[in-house]
Symmetry: C2
Subunit: 471 residues, 2 copies
């Protein structure tokens, strides 16, 4: 078993073991990067990688210009949010105005950005991106005055197909359609796989954008319990499939938003097999898949797709730039239908951003950028978690995400997260209140916190203010 661990996993396991056995105690300084690197005969980068993972899991915490410290023991940490086990009945949404407020705040630099899941612009590789944009303009002056093929530029589709191997999928360029971000991918996938009025199965909680697409398409939703660590409850899904006609299931198996849950590989296989047995399409939202902390990139549920029933949706909005509006969908047997729908809804995706992303991927700098970004997010998530634990009232519970850059926070029973959201916005702080993550307005005392921005006094103050507003 040990031999199958990567080097940084071995180093992380070593330190974690020392903490568990009490060799290293809460509040103590962890071994320096240099000493551990010498001792374990690994590079400093490997130790840094290991420490970032331990930080993401809440075992270490980084202190600026001071190194890594052991966090307080488990008993002193806030517990994780509860697993909400009820299967919710189909319902209609009434939280569009709150979602608009969350999204509008994201475009307003005066608001502290703890609401929408936006990485800090400073963490995204805009200099390299701009180089790629300029190089595209220089190499192909007429990029924007031609129509690209509706499915996307050939160069980008080749790169997307090549990269799909990293998450276990063998795709040809023709299997991949470029979209205006993952939202268009989800939108077209659902339109291809369902008809208005049909019933779809959602994770609960789930990304509010999914709730909105489902509502906008006139679909009805069943919300399935989703475990904060293990993801979608397959037993409940199996029961639902026996009793109801389900048109599609929408899930984020690799890294769930807002929970940060990661389904084990076997569960992913079972999910795909179970749905395939009932001929139910799976819309797999993998927007955060590249940002899993622990391993390079676990295989997607799509990798188990034998019947062309999985519509895999991806995006560069969380890792390269949301303003590019470049996403994609590998829609299996629905590919022709999605292409047709794309033609009648946006015709094609803007040419220049596509060409620049293809160039970025060709140069091979994307994987290096992802490694750095994951490490950064792990640190920011750890620091935000610690700050919430310090400043929020007793009874607060905090998720332990497997990656990405959001935390799911359960506030003390009776707290009204929408009221907190409103009060916080009035104080110049954006949050995403729980009810927008549900088609039936559940999770009234939950909120999602964006950790996409580097830690700063401004954010520290905002978290303290939030704690007071909650308490």
């Amino acid at each position: 078993m040990a031999s199958r661990l990567t080097r940084y996993e071995r180093v992380a396991a070593l330190v974690e073991d020392q903490v568990r056995r009490g060799v290293l105690r809460g509040g103590e300084r962890a071994p320096s990067l240099r000493s551990l690197s010498r001792h374990e005969r690994v590079s400093i980068g490997t130790v840094l990688e290991a420490y970032a993972r331990l930080e993401g899991r809440g075992i270490l915490e980084a202190r600026p210009r001071s190194g890594f410290y052991v966090r307080l023991p488990e008993a002193d940490r806030p517990p994780e949010p509860r697993f909400h086990q009820r299967t919710a009945v189909p319902a209609r949404l009434g939280t569009a105005a709150v979602v608009s407020a969350v999204m509008d705040a994201a475009a307003d630099p005066r608001v502290v950005p703890l609401g929408a899941a936006c990485p800090s612009p400073g963490l995204l590789p805009y200099r390299m991106l701009n180089r790629c944009l300029r190089a595209t303009i220089a190499r192909d002056a007429t990029h924007s005055v031609r129509y690209d093929p509706a499915g996307g530029s050939d160069a980008l589709r080749r790169q997307l197909a090549r990269r799909a191997l990293l998450y276990g999928c063998e795709l040809a360029p023709a299997d991949v359609l470029v979209t205006c971000g993952a939202t268009e991918a989800l939108h077209l996938a659902l339109r291809a796989a369902t008809r208005p009025g049909q019933l779809v199965a959602l994770e609960s909680p789930t990304y509010f954008g999914i709730v909105q697409v489902v509502a906008a398409l006139g679909l009805r939703a069943v919300e399935l319990p989703t475990h904060p660590r293990a993801g979608l409850d397959l037993g409940r899904l199996a029961a639902l499939l026996r009793t109801h006609a389900i048109a599609a299931c929408i899930a984020m198996p690799t890294l769930q938003n807002p929970l940060g849950a990661a389904m084990p590989l076997e569960a992913k296989r079972e999910l795909v097999t179970l749905l395939a047995r009932h001929d139910v399409p799976l819309v797999e939202d993998d927007v955060y898949g590249d940002l899993v902390f622990d391993v390079a990139r676990p295989p997607a549920a799509k990798s188990f797709d034998r019947k062309g029933l999985v519509l895999y949706c991806g995006s560069f909005s969380k890792t390269l730039g949301p303003g590019l509006r470049v996403g994609w969908v590998a829609a299996g047997r629905f590919t022709a239908a999605v292409a047709r729908l794309k033609r009648s809804s946006t015709v094609a995706t803007a040419s220049l951003p596509q060409a620049a992303v293809a160039r970025f991927l060709e140069r091979g700098s994307y994987e290096r950028h992802l490694r750095r970004l994951r490490r950064t997010f792990a640190g920011q998530v750890g620091r935000m978690s610690a700050a919430i634990a310090r400043t929020f009232p007793a009874g607060t519970r905090i998720s332990r995400p497997a990656g990405g850059f959001v935390l799911w926070v359960e506030l003390p029973p009776g707290t009204d997260a929408i009221a907190v959201h409103r009060r916080a916005l009035a104080a110049g702080i954006s949050t995403s209140p729980g009810p927008i993550f549900s088609a039936s307005g559940r999770f009234g005392n939950m909120m999602r916190i964006n950790c996409g921005h580097p830690w700063s006094p401004r954010i520290e103050r905002a978290v303290a203010t939030l704690g007071q507003l909650v308490g």
Copy 2:
């Protein structure tokens, strides 16, 4: 009356009068630019503008390096297509594959581009556009790593609102939403104004993209007779509104695709008033409005909108660059609904193309570019019309468009335009067969011909080949 004519209209009227009175005869050389300029005390540019209009109307024809000549008299010219007067019953579409073939051919440089309505890349201002793109990158390095507001960049919305005055509309920036091309504008406008299963009124023939959106949204279509010169038959529309519940009417009042019809201003007013009386929204597709040959820019139907019932859709795809994917919608009372739908379908439009278009408009070079483009298209339309008249069999009828760059061609009775389309494609020539311009597959012996490319021996040969395939 005469005093209200612009200078070039006065010059055009003068020459047209001479042709009508037989002072200038078919085949004769028209007065040289220089002599007419001196004689009428106008600039050479004004005479050129006048001649381009006369060329667009088929009165003169330009011969390379030789000047302008009077076309053969009316009696020898092919007649215009007939006015198809039946109101077609709701029907389903079965021509998606043909549309795909037309669109795919547009992205294939080996095919002679007489199918999709694409201007030649060489006629679009890509050098200036690239300068604007580079300037945007230089001025704002983080343009693509932030989320733009869902409604679009403030700079672009300001420019769009400013320009709306040119077509008679007083709009605030907040009234305008930026979209991924006019297709997204149409798509969102229809989704906001209708529900699946409802009945919408279409022009007949109409742009095939509209037929596709209507089908994709599960709407049913009634096709209203549309006159090749005067546009939508308002009597028929009035009758329809009395007998049927119509959810929306979709029309191109300023410049109709494929007919090239331009509704007189009074008819536009009547259209808006009539629909408003029944509280029926008008989706106004004005993609070709900037390309009307005869006057600078007639007011849009939207300019008569008093109840917020007109959803005006525009685009830069025909005049700046289709690969930018920048369009817009001014949706009146549906603005909030369209914004919400935009958020759940593509979130926002790509940032960099928006910023570059805003910069292009700010610099004021757009109007100058449009003047040149209209003149060019008028010439190309005239030349194509003459070539079709020469090479197609007797019984062919050709439209006399008021602007734009397509011709609507009625082939001799019994000709199967889809069969011609297939044979032509096999010979490396793309055409748009009539049935795709109808929700019920009418216009079996019609075809639309793209004149967006400069005249060339390659195009001349292709037209001759088409004539043989038809005959």
